[in-house]
């Protein structure tokens, strides 16, 4: 429960940072990166709790959208696939981050993905940095 509480605090901090940057015109998917990292650090029900809480806060319209569905389903998919590659966990996390943002960008803007390649790189870089901090705080090797 203490780990879940720690995860909750980290998620809220990421959301506050995401909203603060958005006010300044910089929109990063920090909460998405956090959820992907959580897929490697928490059990299924804990992850589902974080995912639904994030969707509850971020959902901006009263209907499902490709972006929100990706936000919700991709971290859960990562959870079920997290032991497939048997690489170092930070490398798997990085790969999952890149793949996750790729799926998110194609879900949100399928025709114009190549217009956003700089935002994509920025998202992956910011997500990797944040993930590193999350792993430093929460990761305990078994």
């Amino acid at each position: 429960m203490i780990r879940v509480l720690g995860g909750l605090i980290i998620l809220f901090l990421a959301l506050v940072l995401q909203f603060s940057l958005a006010t300044a015109g910089i929109r990063l998917g920090l909460s998405f990166a956090i959820l992907i990292s959580f897929a490697f650090l928490f059990e299924f029900w804990e992850l589902a709790f974080f995912v639904l809480l994030t969707v509850f806060i971020l959902n901006w319209q009263p209907a499902a959208s490709p972006e929100i569905l990706t936000f919700a389903l991709f971290p859960l998919a990562v959870y079920f696939c997290r032991n497939i590659l048997h690489w170092r966990i930070w490398l798997e996390n990085l790969l999952a981050l890149a793949l996750g943002f790729l799926v998110l960008y194609f879900a949100a803007a399928p025709a114009g993905f190549f217009l956003y390649w700089q935002s994509f790189l920025l998202d992956v870089a910011a997500g990797a940095l944040l993930s590193g901090i999350v792993f430093l705080i929460l990761y305990r090797p078994k």
Binding site: W45, L52, I57, P62, A108, A109, L115
Partner: protein, 224 residues
């Protein structure tokens, strides 16, 4: 036993969130506004609060007197509050708290202080999604300056007016106003801040200056 109890608690929270997402999304919006820093101060001692309350009451009375003398929302426009904003960087959309129940339809113009800020894209019973002029896919025919030179407003992070004839005389500070079908003609949008030639050399283009910050819009008017 303890682990099972924790799991049951998580499942209960998950069920609650799922219900809230579908039944009461406005609580998510409120939580988001709280995290984004849009919250009222709630500190101070009781005497301080009483004094502050009195000051606020007198200010309210004063403003109510002023408001009574101001024109109401122009006819055929409905005042709406901005509920939430698209959180990622692919679109520039806002959700307002009027929808089909209020007679709003897709394509209705949305203005702020008399300036066109976007158009209704999708309508729900109690709310509507508005595509702002800063969305990459927002395009509308416009006219520029006193001569009414034709151009095409192209939205995005740095909106511009494209396809202006090279022979057109466009000056800094010229007004850009809407001239598209379905939008009230003549609605101001921005001022010309810079001019340049298009990449292919065939047209003039104009960089724009806006009189508002779309990230801080709290209330708008929607054309009916």
């Amino acid at each position: 036993m303890k682990k099972r109890g924790g799991q049951l608690l998580l499942i209960a929270c998950i069920t609650a969130f799922a219900a809230l997402i579908f039944l009461k999304p406005q609580y998510g919006v409120a939580l988001r506004m709280f995290l984004a820093g849009e919250r009222a101060a709630a500190t101070g001692t009781a005497p301080d609060l009483a004094a502050e309350n009195e000051v606020l009451k007198s200010q309210l009375a004063e403003l109510q007197a002023v408001a009574a003398q101001l024109p109401a929302a122009p006819s055929h426009y409905l005042r709406a509050m901005v509920y939430s904003r698209y959180p990622l960087n692919f679109k520039n959309e806002i959700l307002v708290n009027v929808g089909s129940n209020n007679g709003i339809a897709a394509g209705d113009a949305v203005i702020f202080r008399g300036i066109l800020v976007g158009a209704v894209e999708k309508v729900f019973p109690g709310s509507a999604l508005v595509q702002t002029v800063f969305d990459d896919h927002f395009k509308i025919p416009v006219r520029v300056g006193p001569a009414g030179n034709d151009g095409l407003f192209v939205g995005g992070t740095s909106p511009r007016v494209a396809s202006i004839a090279k022979t057109a005389k466009v000056s800094l500070g010229d007004i850009v106003y809407a001239a598209g079908e379905g939008t009230p003609y003549g609605l101001p949008m921005a001022l010309v801040a810079s001019t340049s030639t298009s990449p292919d050399g065939l047209f003039e283009e104009a960089g724009l200056r806006f009189a508002y910050d779309v990230n801080t819009l709290q209330t708008v008017l929607v054309a009916q």
